[in-house]
Symmetry: C2
Subunit: 165 residues, 2 copies
Amino acid sequence: MLNPTESLATAPMLSGSERLWATSVVRDLAFLLARANALSLAQANAAAATHGLKVRSYTVLAIAVSDTRPTQRELAEFLRLDPSQIVALVDELESRALVRREPDPSDRRANVVVATDEGRATYASAHATVADSERAIFAALSAEERTTLMEMLRRLAGAPDALSA
Amino acid sequence: MLNPTESLATAPMLSGSERLWATSVVRDLAFLLARANALSLAQANAAAATHGLKVRSYTVLAIAVSDTRPTQRELAEFLRLDPSQIVALVDELESRALVRREPDPSDRRANVVVATDEGRATYASAHATVADSERAIFAALSAEERTTLMEMLRRLAGAPDALSA
DNA sequence: TCCACTTTATTGAGATTGTCAATAGTTACT
DNA sequence: AGTAACTATTGACAATCTCAATAAAGTGGA
């Protein structure tokens, strides 16, 4: 029998809070989701920071680059952010000439957000860095597992009909 | 022929930003993880709020109830929060008599956080509510899928040796 | 057409959260 | 004994969230 705080020789040097993994919260999907996301987010933020971006601005830039020509309201709804936060995000990207506001031809109240050539260029290099850093984290899963995870997360994230399309 | 903004009877009434799901970001595991987490978090916060808690305080309470007797430093490390945030969290729970700070017998610098009887009671009822609301979200997955997801998230979340134990 | 109502982007206030440095008391090392 | 490292705490400051208010533009009747 071992003392609860002791462990065998093969034990990975319990860094102090490891023992809290015995708690009931770690059997909570929402908790694990939050924790996995926190790690992934920290990693992605560090990667994006090497290009002067955060995941937020990186994501907006990615959508702008996609030529979907979203309005700010659509961005707010899709990213689940307050419209006023989109204003700040687009302001910053526009001040760096990575993105441009264009009038929506079908609604003069709305702006449409499009990437500049410079925006496309910095997105390309930022994407390389970010995708690389994510590979590191998701390397804990096999290729098939990643596919399965993506399919599950799409459903949890409320993606429209993941089956069709 | 339908107007692009119109749709068939079976179509889920595209709420405006649905078309952004055609973007490349939705093929990004980190993005989907963040979005799924945002939804789950909002739901859990609403559920916990009916008991005067947030997910943060709910989680700390859950760990306190587990009789693991964590120090504040262990809580900070495990929850990836700054130690000063743990102070605020424990202050609040302690002011509501749900939790108590006890001196760590093995280190007089450290406090150990334990639940009071009242803390156990409110945790029990809060847990019922929160677990219920989570069931609603994760109902998008089958039981086996949830097991698979949990195993994957544990690895991504950095759980120690998910295989043994 | 005129009028009330809604919607889009924007600004700004106030609360919440994240991050960091400094400190008092304690422990660990030599 | 003395130096260095660690724990909890406080306080400052930045970043983020959440809301309300507003101007400009669309919507849908009477």
